[in-house]
């Protein structure tokens, strides 16, 4: 079974440009999470989808970030326009359905560098 996959693995863009990150969760996982790790600091929560609905987006830093999950399958995270402080590694994770406590599986991350 394929794990969580993220694309691209690396992205270097200029300040002011737009970047879209994609996450394909494990098939059948209703829960999809986006996290971010900036400059080696702790992994910070961004948002949580349950199927196609945003369950919690309290971690989104500002309105330059837009996340979608089409049909409850894959998810995209768009940053527009990108700023220097957006640089970091963006992780996606998925887990089985419900809000109960189950293991979250992580993708390899997308390393975003804004120059």
């Amino acid at each position: 079974e394929a794990g969580v996959t993220q694309f691209p693995s690396h992205s270097v863009i200029e300040k002011g440009q737009t970047v879209t990150l994609r996450c394909d969760p494990i098939s059948g996982h209703d829960n999809l999470y986006w996290y971010r790790r900036v400059m080696g600091k702790e992994i910070k929560f961004l948002l949580h989808f349950v199927k196609e609905s945003k369950q919690d987006e309290s971690g989104m830093p500002n309105n330059r970030f837009l996340a979608e999950r089409t049909g409850g399958t894959y998810s995209t995270l768009k940053v527009q326009p990108a700023e220097l402080e957006d640089s970091g590694v963006y992780f996606c994770a998925s887990s089985q359905g419900g809000t109960g406590n189950t293991e979250a599986f992580f993708g390899q991350g997308t390393r975003l560098t804004v120059v």
Binding site: V4, Q6, Y33, Y35, R37, M39, G40, K41, E42, I43, K44, F45, H48, D56, G59, V89, F91, A93, T99, G100, N101, E103, A104, F105, F106, G107, Q108, G109, R111
Partner: protein, 111 residues
Amino acid sequence: GESVGLHLPTLSVQEGDNSIINCAYSNSASDYFIWYKQESGKGPQFIIDIRSNMDKRQGQRVTVLLNKTVKHLSLQIAATQPGDSAVYFCAEKAYGQNFVFGPGTRLSVLP
């Protein structure tokens, strides 16, 4: 791959020794905990989990201890190997809430 944080707490151990990595969590309502291992260029990888109705759980070469009284979690790695070198994160979760990660500890295994 992802660069390792310059200011991460670091634990250095000799190959073959046991390692103990500690984590203090913040939410007294957290009832599920996971230890993740992150190697350079990879995403966090599940190591072991524990629920709040337990205080100890063992896996292969790893043991997690949970002390709810002082909100402390530890990961013990027996006979540490070079392949154990990585950044280790604890994550806590309360029912209906999202995982909250600790700052991470960098484990370096010395030959």
